[in-house]
Symmetry: C2
Subunit: 200 residues, 2 copies
């Protein structure tokens, strides 16, 4: 089983991703239709759906590309982002990294949201965005370590949800993550205080 992708298919996949990237850099998401991406990549529209399943799938793949680096730093990089630091410090570092990552890719996040909001054929039963799931697991785990008495999952949703808030997303798209990062820091300090600081 598992034959690898044919050479022409791989070439087209790359062409499509690069074309989508380029178009998103120049235009707002709602103007980047699948047909335009296909044309810019020099392939037929059907090919895009073949490779990525849906407009949403295309955007998701694009996001996944940008996120791999952070995922790795979290899993096996040096503290405070990687394992080893106290939960509160890891959390602060992670949220800071997320804010900066989001600032570098604000338009892409917007495009992904737009794709989700306008999709016609709801994907197979509740296939949630795996990036979000993984971030949520991480944040929620860190909170739970430092403060076992609070509803860590719910609060993790609140913190991460910030990235989807239009007024804040606009700040990020403008390339200014500092304000969000500072607000994250304030909340982490208020919530975890010193509890999580020395090896919770």
């Amino acid at each position: 089983m598992e034959r690898r992708e044919r050479a022409d298919a791989a070439r087209n996949r790359r062409a499509i991703l690069r074309a989508a990237e380029e178009l998103l850099r120049m235009h707002p998401p709602e103007q980047v239709s699948v047909e335009r991406v296909a044309a810019a990549a020099g392939v037929g529209k059907g090919t895009v759906f073949h490779r990525f399943g849906s407009r949403t799938g295309l955007m998701r793949e694009l996001m996944a590309e940008r996120v791999r680096e952070l995922e790795q730093a979290v899993a096996e990089g040096p503290p405070p982002l990687g394992p080893g630091a106290a939960p509160a410090d890891r959390l602060a570092a992670f949220l800071d990294a997320v804010a900066r990552l989001a600032a570098r890719n604000g338009n892409l996040i917007a495009a992904h949201e737009h794709a989700v909001a306008t999709r016609k054929a709801p994907e197979q039963p509740r296939q949630e965005n795996p990036i979000y799931l993984s971030w949520h697991r991480h944040v929620s785990g860190l909170i739970a370590q430092a403060r076992p008495d609070v509803d860590a999952e719910e609060i993790a949703h609140m913190l991460l949800g910030t990235l989807h808030m239009e007024p804040i997303a606009a700040q990020l798209r403008a390339g200014r993550p500092e304000r969000l990062a500072a607000a994250f820091a304030t909340l982490v300090r208020a919530l975890l205080g010193e509890e999580g600081r020395s090896d919770g």
Copy 2:
């Protein structure tokens, strides 16, 4: 100037709002198109656009209807929701009320978001949702009173943004505001602590 709305126009406006309400109760937002609303209300599609300007405008009007009561309680009702209580208590009460209001109208919020996300003709320059603006002003003002040292505006966005988070919105749509309300309380307590408790 300012002639009042013609009688037939007023009748149709009500019919459209009620029809939209009804459809939204039975179907997910993406299945409630302007055309369907018009048909259910027994009017032509053009009439809906005439009255409400856009799909977004229709949803906004629907939301405004449900929100008036809370607005009034905040402006002139008894404490802790209304004026008079300490900022921390007012904030806790307000967020609790918002969570409960959202739980009663989760599908409507979703419909409004969907309308914004799928609109074709961007409304006149940045006409932001006035309901959101007013809530944000309130929350942000209360935080600033109790904690002049933090970025109240940004944190207010974070708190209110929660309502738009899909996993939490799903809880609310299912009619269970308690978990969100509790998380709000945790954060308010952590952030404002006792500072805002006795007449900030």
